[in-house]
Subunit: 459 residues, 2 copies
Amino acid sequence: MSDYTSRLAAFLASLTYEQLPEAVIARTEELFLDWLGSALAGQGTHPIPLFERYAEKMGPREGACEVLVSGTRTSPYFAALVNGASSHLVEQDDLHNSSVLHPATVVFPAVFAAAQDLGRSGQELITAAVAGYEAGIRIGEFLGRSHYRTFHTTGTVGTLAAAVGVGKLLRLNHEQFIHALGNAGTQAAGLWEFLRDAADSKQLHTAKAAADGLLAAYLTADGLTGARHVLEGDQGMAAGMSQDANPEYLVDRFGERWALLETSFKFHASCRHTHPAADALLELLWNEELGPDDIQHVITHVHQAAIDVLGRVDKPQTVHQAKFSMGTVLGLIAVYGKAGLAEFQQHALHDPSVARFREKVSMILDAEVDAAYPRRWLGRVEVVTTDGRRVFHGIDEPKGDPGNTLSRDELEDKFQRLVSFSKALTPDETKALIARVWQLRHLTSVCGFLVPPASRSKA
Amino acid sequence: MSDYTSRLAAFLASLTYEQLPEAVIARTEELFLDWLGSALAGQGTHPIPLFERYAEKMGPREGACEVLVSGTRTSPYFAALVNGASSHLVEQDDLHNSSVLHPATVVFPAVFAAAQDLGRSGQELITAAVAGYEAGIRIGEFLGRSHYRTFHTTGTVGTLAAAVGVGKLLRLNHEQFIHALGNAGTQAAGLWEFLRDAADSKQLHTAKAAADGLLAAYLTADGLTGARHVLEGDQGMAAGMSQDANPEYLVDRFGERWALLETSFKFHASCRHTHPAADALLELLWNEELGPDDIQHVITHVHQAAIDVLGRVDKPQTVHQAKFSMGTVLGLIAVYGKAGLAEFQQHALHDPSVARFREKVSMILDAEVDAAYPRRWLGRVEVVTTDGRRVFHGIDEPKGDPGNTLSRDELEDKFQRLVSFSKALTPDETKALIARVWQLRHLTSVCGFLVPPASRSKA
């Protein structure tokens, strides 16, 4: 057994804001805005009110930490819990491809709560989030695909990512980071079994990962010791929960590779397997100046996993299921030019023009697309027009991926759509919050972030 | 996949106090007293004050639920957390052999907190505890020995056992018990990796199991759905965390077999895996009239799990780690005739005669002992005396096991030793609390149990 956990802890302890490239700082602000939008979008939708009521019953009714969906305040544990639950609800939060980790929904609830509790600055919040992303992504890659088959990586690894972020805000040293990883790793949990029953566990997993990671970091700061090799040890996470773990991932290119920059924003509000085809169709319609009624048939050339996941949905019965219907997603794209939360809510199930388009869409396995997956998600569509033409179009990097990322304007637009979907904020509040996020690195304190005292805001 | 989880849930939902045999009721009162003693014995010892401070920081400063080590009150989540941590600290809490589960330290903190929160009676507390024991023991047996190799069963399975007990107090129905198991099972965590570092994770595991199980039950009662086959499903606990799971254990003889009655009280203050050898050595020394200096070498013939758990400890660095050192335990037995809390505190680390004896002790795997385990914990020791004799001795049921159990007098004596060790209670308080426990089934409310209002006590 080598000293992988210790080397990871050393990197985390030594990380400073000054080391971060400008691109990493800017992207962290963007990921933070994207996370805030996702968290606010969950307002009012089952099961989020259950977590709010639970926090009210079990936690204090006051504190420094904001619960985003309610605007109330509580202790850091319960703020992390509720914000962790709400930010994964609408499935619009970010994703890191090779680790299959959704970092924002576990890292930001924890570091946001702890930063408010501890009165930390925007720069410290940014550094803490980067630490959480860098650790979480490497640990997810380390545990490998066998882990993901049974365990919901965002739940399990998320506990460690959250602990790391909070650990940074608590200014843990090298030795303490080893213990924080130990204390978080031994709490890591989350099984995929709920999926076939469409149960509420996804929100429970992100809520608990954020809150338990925070708990691990706070107890560590107060002196609780943990296993020194919780990741790679003989009775550690990999031993119990993986068959193909590779510890070299844990120490991959510290300070050179910024894994946070590899994170994808979600653009469409649908299953990610539909995104490449949606992007390709959108460009094709634009280039060819075609409308939905100009099209006779759409053949999407896809990877096998897309057929495995999407092939089961014929005529969707629920909005959630419609997000796994290639025909519905492309119908929304063709008729409304986008497939966002509002389009799904209003048009996915009972809109005749979308239903008509859905019947025109088919999927076929494509060898080139399949060979590139999962490293690259290629979009290839073939359209037969009503006047008999046959048009091909392809995109090589879906909208939101690192090489085709969203601009700040597009992120603002997505944010506005997310918060207006749940009616969480007024337009004025929305503008003010966006402006505050773009000032994050200049804030001396992130307290009262949602409802700032006039005296504090530098924005 | 069969309907194992559902059948278990049906039994739990239908269980009533009236169904419980008198022996089960009486034993539950005894187990409750034993648990209270263990919880109070943890007062003031690291890391328990950390959990107290954490609860004060994160939770409310008032509530119906008593924190035993501090006499303060808080919400049920934090009472379960702190009482769960403290009741496993001195390693004197009960154990169920074949499931390798310590039921009291996870079930009682949760049901005690929930019963106080909900204003339930002593009979309801007893019924809830029985449900937690019956479910937890069967789930531990189901997950098997492969689970225990990497996972701390009391942490993982404890989460479900606690959820079941609290679910009874919340009066969940059959369908809700399925969801409660799902919501608890997907939070189940706890790795043995901490053991070689003598880290504080054992208390974290029991604290979190009790508190997370309570969280699962409360959220379920409010409508959170969970996986319907979290135990036996394709992506459930057994799939992810066991290689030898047998679901028939989950539905073993409901209403006929009372697994709670199979639980052992701990006599020595050490890891249970040392007890069979300790009892065998004690008898051997007595029979042969041997002292520690008459002995050249002790070979303990043990089951594999004893080697897995105890084999990590060479020279113990802390009192807690000494409880996992076979040599230290047998050294205390040989030199002082017992291995209680006081002996550990005073002699486990720096006593030269105990250290000398420790070096004389080795473990070897014994086929007969291993085959009987975990149903029976056989004690087999082989002693080589300084004058060259070789003496064998065996015991078939360690002190405290169901067939060799402690009487109420012995339990009261153990309780008094536990609370006087930590100075948690005065002699008068001790007597009053013991009397209250023996009246448990007659109490209309368990609120203010540690510090009862004069108007309430029927004792």
